[in-house]
């Protein structure tokens, strides 16, 4: 834990637990809390009222508080902080906590609790928060004594960001925040039991370099770990130094520039043909900060069968979990990359240049298939293709020259955004990867905008997902957060419809978006601007108006309701059995029963 000088001087009167809590937060560098009040946290809200160091953003649902804090955390690299009341406040936050756990986002979530003497009595708004959130967090605490309060707060921040980051809950009984409590500055001594290994062993780096130098068909595959480690610059250096092709996961997008010729595009279920075939056919794979997730591997038995695999991860439990690797390296991605760069430079071996040229030629041939192609008619009145809408949005945001952050909801629009919006910088792409939480994008965008008031923040949404946390329009209005909601409105839960079409005989069971609101009037009801584009000739104007509007905007982009997201590796299929488009048989013969059972 790094030592921070206490920012708040000790006053002469004893401070309440609530005041001590805020003082500890300030000493941890907290400037914003996303929260929602209630009985058990009233003393904390009272203390918040009487200070000005920490800003409180009132959300409209506790799930949104956590997603907003995730947006804040992922876009700044800092810990996001949440404050909710006991019982329903805490249970509402659970989805956000699991989301942050799956995507390794550092969060400290303060939950109110009934007074210590009532715990276990089924008191009003009592829930077993530490019990409920134990599997939903990296760690959690129940503060039982005022003496422990400050120490636990500091420890929680350490745990949230150390090693593989994640969410931490501190459950605060009401009597603890009312009673006087002593202050303790952040500890300078190492944590008693939790000390993740950060430094790669020299021998491991040496072996890795030997493997990489000899590679004839190499590929570098990275994930969100690069972003968490702040290692994008090192990654780019290493990729360019080696000249190797590189691909990334959904969570890693932006860590390597999408306009670089060495970038193969995203890999996995909706990844590019060239990325997935390179993974399948490589002879040496270097994975940095990714976890061989099932969306990436497809059928594990057939995953990259001929390659030797190097896996660098800060979390030893990610190693050999899904895929057995030849060289595991437990280390921080930034330190490991720095060591790889130095060792590569120091090693004069040229490597099999001709074989690598042939490998790049093979990749060029795969690329030439242009797997992300779509057909957009430019005739007046023609229906908008969702892919095209994202490409036009990307071009228009580039033209503004503004720092642009994209969040998404979950579904086809999310995958199209990942495929077609070219991310060139880290921390600018925020999406719910591991949990796949519909309703993530709007509150996450609010959190990003709070952290970056001048930036352009856009939630690329589906019309179904956006309704899951639509109440946050009120938060946007209250804090004048000029978030743009770019809804690819296909009148379907598109991703569900796509699976039903491909796997369930086109029986569209409950996937039609019935009784949608009028999004333009909905925007107006929340003091935002509502726009609608119904055909291709209206698209660019709507995008331009949206970007030029100073306040929040809902842009209802009516897109082709039947468009499917390709390429697609059906669940349970290997990487070299990809569906490239609708021209391939809908009921593909290689979707096995086992594959049907997968999600």
């Amino acid at each position: 834990m790094t030592h921070l000088a206490p920012a708040t001087a000790k006053p002469d009167r004893p401070q309440s637990g609530a005041e001590i809590l805020l003082r500890a937060l300030v000493d941890q560098g907290v400037d914003v809390i996303f929260g929602y009040p209630g009985g058990a946290v009233l003393p904390i809200y009272d203390a918040l009222f009487q200070q000005s160091a920490i800003r409180h953003i009132l959300v409209r649902h506790e799930q949104a508080a956590v997603h907003a804090a995730e947006g804040y955390a992922r876009s700044t690299g800092r810990v996001g902080v949440v404050l909710v009341t006991s019982g329903p406040g805490a249970t509402n936050a659970v989805t956000g906590l699991v989301d942050a756990l799956m995507d390794s986002i550092p969060i400290v979530c303060l939950t109110g609790q009934v007074p210590t003497h009532l715990i276990g009595n089924d008191a009003f708004q009592e829930a077993d928060t530490v019990g409920i959130t134990r599997p939903a967090t990296k760690h959690n605490y129940l503060v039982k004594h005022p003496d422990d309060l400050a120490r636990i707060v500091h420890e929680a921040f350490y745990v949230a960001r150390a090693g593989r980051p994640g969410p931490v809950v501190i459950d605060l009984p009401k009597d603890i925040v009312i009673a006087p409590a002593p202050y303790a500055a952040p500890a300078v001594t190492p944590h008693r039991s939790y000390r993740p290994n950060l430094h790669p062993a020299a021998a491991e780096i040496e072996t890795a370099i030997a493997l990489l130098k000899s590679a004839r068909r190499p590929v570098i595959y990275f994930g969100g770990g690069i972003i968490n480690a702040g290692a994008a610059a090192q990654l780019a250096d290493f990729v360019r130094l080696t000249g190797f092709p590189c691909t990334g996961t959904l969570m890693g997008l932006g860590a390597f520039p999408a306009d670089d010729p060495q970038w193969l595009g995203m890999l996995g279920m909706h990844g590019t043909l060239e990325a997935n075939l390179a993974m399948h056919g490589c002879d040496v794979m270097l994975n940095i900060g990714a976890r061989f997730d099932d969306r990436v591997t497809g059928r594990v038995a057939d995953f990259s069968p001929g390659s030797r695999k190097i896996h660098i991860d800060i979390d030893p439990s990610n190693i050999n979990k899904n895929i057995a690797v030849d060289l595991p390296i437990v280390a921080d991605a930034k330190l490991a990359l720095a060591a790889l760069i130095a060792a590569w430079r120091a090693d004069p071996r040229p490597g099999p240049a001709a074989a690598r040229r042939a490998w790049w030629q093979q990749i060029a041939a795969w690329r030439a298939r242009d797997c992300l192609a779509y057909r957009q008619s430019m005739e007046k009145g023609a229906v908008i293709k969702p892919q095209h809408a994202i490409r036009q949005l990307h071009a228009a945001t580039l033209a503004t020259g503004r720092d642009t952050f994209i969040t998404t909801e979950v579904g086809q629009h999310q995958m199209w955004a990942a495929q077609h919006f070219g991310f060139t910088r880290p921390n600018r792409w925020l999406t719910s990867g591991g949990l796949g939480t519909m309703g993530y994008g709007l509150p996450a965008a609010a959190g990003v905008q709070v952290a970056h008031p001048e930036a352009l923040v856009i939630d690329i949404a589906g019309e179904a997902s956006i309704l899951m946390n639509i109440q946050e329009l009120s938060t946007l209005a209250q804090y004048r957060l000029p978030v743009k909601l770019f809804i690819l409105n296909n009148r379907y839960m598109g991703m569900v419809r796509q699976w039903q079409e491909l796997l369930h005989g086109s029986r569209y069971s409950h996937s039609y978006s019935e009784a949608l609101p009028d999004f333009v009037r909905l925007a107006e009801a929340f003091q935002a601007t509502g726009l609608i584009a119904e055909s291709i000739d209206q698209l660019d104007d709507v995008i331009a108006t949206m970007l030029a509007t100073p306040g929040p905007v809902i842009a209802d982009i009516r897109v082709d309701p039947t468009e499917n997201c390709y390429p697609m590796i059906p669940s349970g299929a290997p990487h070299n059995e990809m569906l490239l488009g609708p021209d391939q048989p809908a009921s593909s013969p290689f979707v096995s029963d086992e594959g049907m059972a997968l999600v």
Binding site: V130, R134, H139, I323
Partner: protein, 172 residues
């Protein structure tokens, strides 16, 4: 190769953990949440001054699964140390069983004779019952129970194992 391929083995895993509320729930939750087996589990405070407890877990799984179990345990915040005693070398494992056998006549005599051979102690007796106390490794207790089954075995209470490495090496 993936996680479920390969032969299964039995592993004896010892943990040194912070002696605080919720640690056991975390460990058990990890096993149930991720679908790992617990064959037995024991826990008790072992170091008052450093407030440490020791948890001994017997589990079975493929090498990959056991590797996973160890690294999943290791990343729990209040866990100080994870040791796979069965992989680390020779180790000792003992458990205690209390075994109630009902019966009369020849069977009763046979039960007593076998108990003697196993060095089980009689800690309670009536004219129709014995309670034996037996300490040993799991195999020994399993073998004794198998012998008692036809002789009127009625009830068993076992502690699960306490385990420790042989020699001078110390887990701390």
């Amino acid at each position: 190769m993936h996680a479920n391929s390969g032969a299964e083995r039995r592993a004896v895993i010892s943990l040194l953990v912070e002696n605080e509320a919720g640690v056991l729930a975390r460990v058990i939750g990890l096993f149930s949440g991720r679908g790992y087996n617990i064959d037995s589990l024991t826990v008790a405070a072992v170091d008052e001054s450093r407030s440490l407890s020791r948890i001994n877990i017997v589990t079975t799984g493929t090498e990959m699964i056991i590797g996973q179990i160890k690294s999943q345990l290791d990343r729990l915040v209040p866990i100080h140390k994870v040791a796979d005693l069965s992989a680390a070398g020779p180790h000792l494992a003992r458990e205690l069983a209390l075994i109630k056998v009902l019966g009369a006549g020849d069977k009763r005599n046979e039960a007593l004779r076998l108990a003697d051979a196993f060095r089980a102690r009689v800690i309670d007796a009536t004219t129709e019952s014995f309670v034996f106390e037996l300490t040993g490794n799991t195999d020994k207790i399993d073998a004794f129970l198998a012998l008692m089954r036809p002789l009127g075995l009625a009830e068993v209470s076992r502690t699960g194992i306490a385990a420790i490495g042989r020699g001078t090496a110390v887990m701390a």
